[in-house]
């Protein structure tokens, strides 16, 4: 499913989207389909599936450790695309990974594998807009969305340049730092949201771990909330994983409905 279709659907229902991130193959390859199912049952509207990289510099310890577990479990790009193709879901899937994996597979091959396995969008956190021309071309040839990040320190000129290249949604980082669950959602979120003027849906990530935070982000004007580390923490704990993922997704999705 196209990301724009999903966001339009939600807009009609006056809801914000829950975008949930998990790392494919964490803790093992067999668990991923159940984990994805649990998240969707809980209300996840879009699933971001991480393709693990050995050196994830944009991520904090939680997701770095998830990547290490997944790599240890044998996850690689070949298995990733097989796994994605085998998922039986009716929500958009987004691939999140680092540029070297895309580069080694070849940009066109990587994008083609995305299309064939059912992925609608790509997030490459170490590929800033300036370096993205070749991949953007490959993505637009195949009608795949290339999603970029905007942060509180991104200048207005850069925001403009990034928005020209971004499709699907724009990933708004609510605070400085790497990924990881935090207890506060600061005023910086509202400020950055007001600076990003676009028709492309705005999804806010970094540090959101419960429904209250989600509802605050949504009332500040977000069209979606992105939650990663809080889900990954549950997977890492290994206890009642699917049930707890579903419950947390439900709590956060409830926060998304208070738009």
């Amino acid at each position: 499913m196209k990301l724009s279709t999903k966001f339009n659907e939600l807009k009609d229902r006056n809801e914000a989207a829950l975008l949930s991130y998990v790392c494919a193959g964490d803790p093992d390859i067999e668990s991923t389909p159940e984990i994805v199912d649990a998240l969707i049952k809980g209300g996840a509207d879009i699933i971001e599936l991480g393709l693990p990289f050995s050196d994830p510099v944009a991520d904090g310890p939680t997701i770095q450790e998830a990547s290490e577990r997944a790599l240890k479990a044998g996850m690689n790009p070949d298995r990733y695309f097989e796994l994605v193709a085998s998922l039986d879901v009716d929500v958009p899937l987004v691939c999140m990974t680092y540029y070297n994996l895309v580069f080694q597979r070849g940009l066109d091959s990587f994008v083609e594998d995305c299309v064939n396995s059912g992925i609608s969008g790509l997030i490459i956190p170490d590929l800033p807009a300036e370096e993205s021309e070749d991949l953007a071309k490959a993505c637009s040839n195949k009608d795949i969305d290339l999603i970029f990040l905007i942060t509180p320190v991104t200048t207005d000129d850069r925001i403009k340049m990034i928005l020209e290249k971004c499709s699907g949604f724009v990933y708004i980082v609510s605070r400085l730092g790497v990924t990881g669950a935090r207890s506060d959602v600061t005023d910086a979120t509202a400020q950055i949201l007001s600076r990003v003027k676009t028709d492309v849906p705005k999804a806010v990530g970094f540090g959101i771990s419960n429904g209250d935070q989600a509802s605050r982000v949504v009332s500040a004007g977000a069209d979606g909330v992105i939650v990663g580390s809080a889900f990954v923490d549950i997977i890492a704990s290994g206890e009642n994983v699917n049930q707890r993922l579903e419950e947390l997704a439900k709590d956060i999705k409830d926060g998304c409905r208070k738009k």
Partner: protein, 394 residues
């Protein structure tokens, strides 16, 4: 502002959150690199704090044995014991001019961390150094030195617990504290403008060699040999000679315990010699990676060369045939460590020992010509305990 590339290499492959910091750094560097006041202060630090210029020493015993004239550029005599201080003085001074109050750095052998702590404490910075937990053990005296000079050393327990992981952690710190912090990268690696800036600050080595060798020999050398991990001492001595095509520039990488790879690791650190085109830690360059693009852990007896990538400019110069990549393995480096100590009364760092080892191996074949300069990038005091253990078979 996308940075200059070296052929297809270089660039700025970093999280968006760092792009404004890189822009600010580019602007700051452009503003101050030719500023008379900045240059005067830089010159003062290099001369009176670091102890430049360093001698170009004629290694008479080694020359006699190997039948070629061998000079050693004595970067081991820089304050702190390695060339690293040239760059940390330059960057710390730049950070001061830019109004930053905090420095973060990563270190492998500990030499760059030590040099950052020296420059940082002298210029009034709060200094945080990230170091692989494995390296904090094999270089514990350097950890102590850094702490004596007021730096906070953070052992990194993730991944292979070496330099590559320390860089990841330092990047994360910078991402989190970008407003008041300068990330002081220690080699000619990372996103633009670092490879250019570090090269410029290290070029003092090659510029001095140019004058010194003309005074002593009336001509440029036939070859210049430098060890290469990230490649800062190599680019520092090579850069002023890049246009002088008669001078062969030889980059000696760590061959570790063999030129092979296991599933997750290389037994060597020879990314320039056998690495492949890829993107690592901010730049496109040659890297050690598997067929999917996952980074392989590297290996070397010397912590300072133990890195899975290499500076993008070196990758470019290798592509166009301007530099010659060579490999010296652990055993050769250890042999050179002992031989230079015995022959000249100079104990080289294990990193530099790789360059010395290559000269010992290649001199007699004539491939290096008649007049050779080795960049003795650092002294071996930090390696004494490690080498002694190897000698005793511990």
């Amino acid at each position: 502002m996308s940075g200059p590339k070296y052929g297809k290499y270089g660039g700025q492959f970093v999280p968006e959150i760092l792009m404004p910091a890189l822009e600010e750094l580019e602007e700051g560097y452009e503003k101050y690199r030719n500023d008379p006041e900045f240059l005067k202060e830089l010159d003062y630090y290099l001369k009176d704090f670091a102890g430049r210029e360093t001698p170009l020493y004629y290694a008479k015993n080694m020359s006699k044995k190997y039948g070629v004239k061998i000079y050693l550029k004595r970067e081991d005599l820089v304050h702190g014991g390695a060339h690293k201080l040239n760059n940390t003085i330059g960057q710390a001074l730049l950070a001061k001019y830019m109004g930053k109050t905090r420095l973060v750095a990563e270190t492998g052998a500990g030499q760059h961390g030590t040099a950052t702590a020296m420059a940082g404490t002298n210029m009034g910075f709060q200094t945080h150094v990230y170091m692989g937990a494995k390296d904090t053990v094999r270089q514990r005296m350097n950890v102590y030195r850094m702490e004596l000079m007021g730096a906070t050393v953070h052992p990194v327990e993730s991944g292979s617990k070496t330099l590559k992981d320390a860089i990841n952690e330092a990047l994360r710190d910078w991402v989190s504290n970008v407003e008041n912090t300068h990330y002081l990268i220690g080699s000619v690696v990372g996103p633009h403008p670092y490879p250019m800036m570090v090269r410029d600050f290290q070029s003092v080595i090659g510029n001095e060699v140019k004058q010194q060798i003309l005074e002593k020999e009336g001509r440029y050398p036939d070859s210049i040999v430098a060890c290469t991990g990230g490649g800062s001492n190599a680019m520092g001595i090579f850069h002023p000679f890049v246009e002088d095509k008669d001078v062969d520039l030889v980059a000696v990488e760590a061959g570790g315990s063999g030129m092979k790879c296991t599933e997750k690791a290389a037994l060597h650190s020879a990314s320039l010699s056998v690495g492949e085109d890829g993107v690592l830690q901010g730049a496109r360059t040659r890297i050690l990676q598997d067929k999917y693009g996952q980074i392989l852990e590297s290996s070397s007896v010397s912590a300072g060369l133990d890195y899975s990538g290499v500076g993008p400019e070196l990758a470019y110069l290798a592509d166009i045939g301007r530099i010659t990549p060579r490999v010296a393995n652990d055993d050769m480096a250890l042999k050179a460590f002992h031989e230079l100590s015995l022959m000249e009364g100079i104990i080289p760092a294990l990193e530099s020992s790789h360059a010395v080892a290559h000269v010992m191996e290649a001199a007699e074949s004539g491939e290096l010509g008649e007049l050779v300069v080795i960049n003795l990038s650092g002294r071996g005091d930090k390696d004494l305990e490690a080498v002694r253990k190897i000698d005793l078979g511990e």
